[in-house]
């Protein structure tokens, strides 16, 4: 071969390599300028039944037993399969689901709940009062919420389609607890509830009443649900949330385990997936500029800093007050979340979307940034200049960023600070011992009742060993009052208590970003993925 030919060959080979590199790098330009999203330009289509929905699911759940755990990966799949007696509607209010309705006696200690007739389980049997009683029984033993409610329950009686729950004292949170979408009171056949006992349900025991039924679990790969043809739907079209009319349009839903968000975005671009979960906010611009992808955002609790109140220095209220004054939450949130769409400032214990639980009262001290006051308080306190340890989980960028900014701001008022990052599993273990930390930075997902607020459960590691008679009394009062106005009053008092005693310092409300293909229609974002009443257009 002549040398000339070889040169040509070599040059063309190198050019091809370069071309591949260029194509790879120029990827973001290909999306073009037209922003053809939103349904506005299309005339309203009629829902199309059928097809398969491929969901890129960020974390493989340990179990799909939605009663056993409050983990959101369990919940988001579980509520397609299982349903509860009562459930939250789109405004986070309690509405009947499998229940028809209920009555309470005058001294509010006996609840008589009627069950809808002919509600079918996936195994073909019909829901009876025995099934409900057995489910309640198991809920009282395995669910974190059920364990709380259980202290008030004297007896549960089942007759035909009626359940009678007798309480040992007034407990007005009963229905709220029964409808909590966390470790939920899902209704399963009595024999399964009894045989499973306190163990999580096994795949062959995943029998519920929901619009989709469990098909298979290919571990590490996917969880497959199929449409339940005999689904017993309610009729209310405007309830939303987890109740009201549910129609399963898809024949099949594949929850595919995909951990890398970049893969999820690429997968949606190439129609490998139709929906993708948990996308970091810094990919928002990419999502927005892709015409075939819609962003989906929804509330997801808030970020907080919890001081260890069992030891110096944060056992001293003055030091905790100094902490609150020292923090410029706006700067922190800006640094942690970047895009304003994903955070908002509100000092309350619940978010404004939770209309029945939200009260803005008592939150004046939320944005009380004042370094001079912080310095004064710190001087008056017993703080001796010993470095404080801020512990956080380093697999979440948000909390890492928050911790770094908090460190700077605390140093500015005279604290000495040491950051101690851990990987999640280590972090959880270290959390249990007060010797390991002084402040933890963490996010708490949306809760639906004051007694579900884990960062305030008295004398536990999750609350930083918070002790408060005032809080204990408020929780007790809350389950004794009957009207919304009285509850609102107490919720305001609860906010005030948190700012007076500072068991934790709230940073900002958080929103989560999911993405969906523009072909997925009528999707309504709430607090997680629900794939009934939504469908896929073939256009």
């Amino acid at each position: 071969m002549e040398l000339n030919k070889i040169y040509k060959l070599a040059i063309s080979f190198i050019s091809i390599l370069l071309l591949i590199t260029l194509i790879g790098c120029s990827n973001s330009d290909t999306s073009g300028t037209e922003n053809g999203k939103s349904d506005t330009e299309q005339t309203i289509e009629d829902p199309q039944a059928g097809g398969t929905l491929n969901v890129a699911f960020a974390a493989e759940p340990d179990t799909i037993d939605w009663m056993y755990t409050g983990a959101s990966s369990t919940r988001d799949i579980g509520w397609h399969i299982f349903e509860t007696l009562f459930a939250l509607d789109k405004n986070y209010e309690t509405k009947p689901m499998i229940a028809e309705g209920y009555e309470v006696n005058d001294d509010r200690t006996v609840y008589t709940i009627s069950i809808r007739e002919g509600v079918k389980f996936h195994d073909g049997s019909t829901v009876t009062a025995e099934d409900v009683a057995a489910s309640i029984d198991r809920w009282r033993k395995v669910s974190s919420v059920g364990k709380i409610a259980s202290q008030y329950i004297e007896s549960v009686k089942a007759t035909e389609l009626t359940i009678e729950i007798e309480l040992n004292e007034v407990y007005n949170s009963l229905l709220v607890d029964m409808s909590a979408p966390k470790s939920a009171l899902m209704i399963i056949p009595a024999e399964i509830a009894e045989s499973a006992g306190e163990q999580p349900l096994k795949p062959d025991q995943l029998i519920g009443t929901g619009p989709f039924k469990f098909e298979k679990w290919d571990r590490g790969n996917e969880i497959v649900l199929t449409k339940f043809e005999d689904y017993s739907a309610r009729t209310e079209e405007d309830w939303g949330g987890l109740t009201g009319k549910k129609v399963a349009y898809f024949d099949q839903i594949n929850f595919k385990i995909v951990k890398d968000p970049q893969v999820v975005v690429n997968g949606l671009k190439t129609n490998l997936y139709d929906y993708g979960q948990s996308i970091p906010p810094d990919l928002y611009t990419v999502v927005e500029s892709t015409p075939t992808i819609d962003p989906v955002t929804y509330i997801n609790g808030y970020s907080i800093i919890t001081p260890d109140k069992s030891e110096a220095p944060f056992d001293d209220l003055k030091v905790r007050q100094a902490l609150n004054y020292a923090l410029d939450k706006k700067t922190i949130a800006q640094a942690a979340y970047g895009n304003e769409k994903f955070y908002s400032f509100d000092g309350a214990l619940f978010v404004p979307e939770q209309t029945k639980l939200y009260s803005e009262k008592g939150t004046d001290m939320y944005l009380a940034y004042n370094t001079n006051k912080a310095k004064d308080l710190l001087e008056q306190s017993d703080y001796n200049g010993k470095p404080i340890k801020i512990m956080y989980a380093n697999n979440y960028d948000d909390y890492k960023n928050i911790s770094e900014v908090v460190k700077q701001q605390l140093e500015a008022v005279g604290f000495k600070v040491e950051l101690v990052p851990y990987e999640w599993a280590t972090y959880l273990e270290k959390w249990a011992d007060p010797a390991n930390w002084d402040l933890v930075v963490i996010g708490w997902s949306t809760r639906f009742s004051p007694n579900e607020l884990g960062m305030l459960s008295l004398d536990t590691s999750s609350s930083g060993w918070y002790q408060s008679e005032r809080w204990e009394n408020l929780i007790a009062q809350y389950s004794n009052v009957t009207t919304d106005a009285e509850r609102k009053e107490i919720l305001g008092e609860m906010n005030q208590t948190v700012y007076d005693e500072l068991p934790f310092v709230k940073i900002a409300n958080e929103s989560t970003l999911d993405i969906k293909s523009t072909k997925v229609k009528d999707y309504d974002s709430w607090i997680g993925q629900r794939f009934w009443n939504t469908w896929k257009s073939d256009k």
Binding site: D62, D260, E423
Partner: protein, 314 residues
């Protein structure tokens, strides 16, 4: 030879024992605990104690170790803490994707590197040789994850020829199996191709000027026959060792590639289990990977002796 083989097999036993001790200690001395992970951030100390007891994690570590070893000797690697399935079953279920990936990668490696090496040696006096050296160095140095992302963007997103992620078992058809695996297998092969082609080239260049090669040439044998029959065959011996270690290296590479392409294989299983502190699964996977590693090395040694009759271990 037989005696040598037996001796080598016996020497595997202490190696595996040491591996199992190290694996067990590493796993159990790492902070973190499955009980906390299962119960979540607002669990009480009592329920954590209770779960630890139920999982047998409250026993002294020495007792846990000997329980584990005793079970291994009967072929029982324990149960996954999360799915309650036997670890052997869990690993077996995940082995298909990893094996497929490694097999296809190995095919890529051999099919690409051998012809390239022969071609380059044939063209050894041209500019092609330094170009090859540069590219092979590049191939060895490119980080796998970077190359993977680049290929995904090029052939998955910009030109959507291949899927960006996922896996289809061979039972669903050879075509879709290949369709999902080509990109990840190619990335996995890339590093080793550079290395092996380079080894083969060096080996061939070494024997090309040997006396026996000159003799063959002097006899008037065609240059292509000289290359293939005499030079290539001799260069195969050192290359075999490298291919052996490459196969073992592929096993490590699958951990990264499986994560990037969401292939549900052993690598993903290992990563997930570490995050979840699923002790029996981590121990089982590492033990099996080590066993495969040791066996491959053993096989290479034996093959070495077989390929080169001059080598005898007595």
């Amino acid at each position: 030879m037989l005696q040598y083989t037996i001796r080598r097999f016996i020497s595997v036993i202490p190696v595996m024992f040491i591996v199992s001790v190290i694996v067990f200690l590493l796993v159990h001395l790492t902070p973190g605990n499955p009980a906390y992970l299962i119960l979540g951030e607002d669990s009480s100390q009592e329920s954590i104690k209770q779960l630890e007891q139920q999982l047998g994690l409250d026993k002294p570590i020495v007792v846990q170790f000997f329980d584990w070893i005793k079970n291994i000797l009967t072929g029982d690697l324990g149960q996954s803490i999360y799915s309650s399935e036997p670890v052997t079953q869990v690993i077996f279920d995940r082995f298909g994707p990893t094996f497929s990936l490694m097999l296809l990668s190995l095919i890529f490696i051999l099919v690409i590197s051998i012809p390239i090496a022969i071609f380059v040696v044939a063209m050894r006096k041209t500019i092609l040789d330094p170009i090859f050296l540069t590219i092979s160095l590049l191939g060895v140095s490119i980080p796998e994850f970077w190359f993977a992302i680049l290929l995904v963007l090029a052939f998955g997103v910009t030109f959507p020829i291949f899927p960006v992620a996922g896996y289809a078992p061979i039972a669903e058809g050879v075509f879709s199996w290949l369709y999902y695996l080509i990109l990840p297998a190619f990335v996995l092969a890339a590093v080793e191709v550079g290395l092996i082609a380079r080894m083969l080239r060096d080996g061939m260049l070494e024997s090309i000027n040997q006396d026996y090669t000159r003799t063959v040439r002097a006899k008037g044998v065609r240059e292509s026959t000289v290359l293939m029959k005499h030079v290539f065959a001799n260069a195969l011996i050192p290359t075999t060792t490298v291919v052996g270690t490459a196969v073992a290296g592929l096993l490590g590479g699958t951990v990264i590639i499986e994560t990037l392409f969401t292939i549900p294989g052993i690598g993903q299983l290992l990563i997930d289990s570490i995050y979840r502190r699923d002790y029996p699964v981590i121990q089982g996977v590492v033990l099996i990977i080590s066993a495969i590693y040791v066996l491959i090395n053993l096989l290479v040694d034996l093959l070495y002796a077989f390929l080169d009759p001059r080598i005898r271990y007595d």
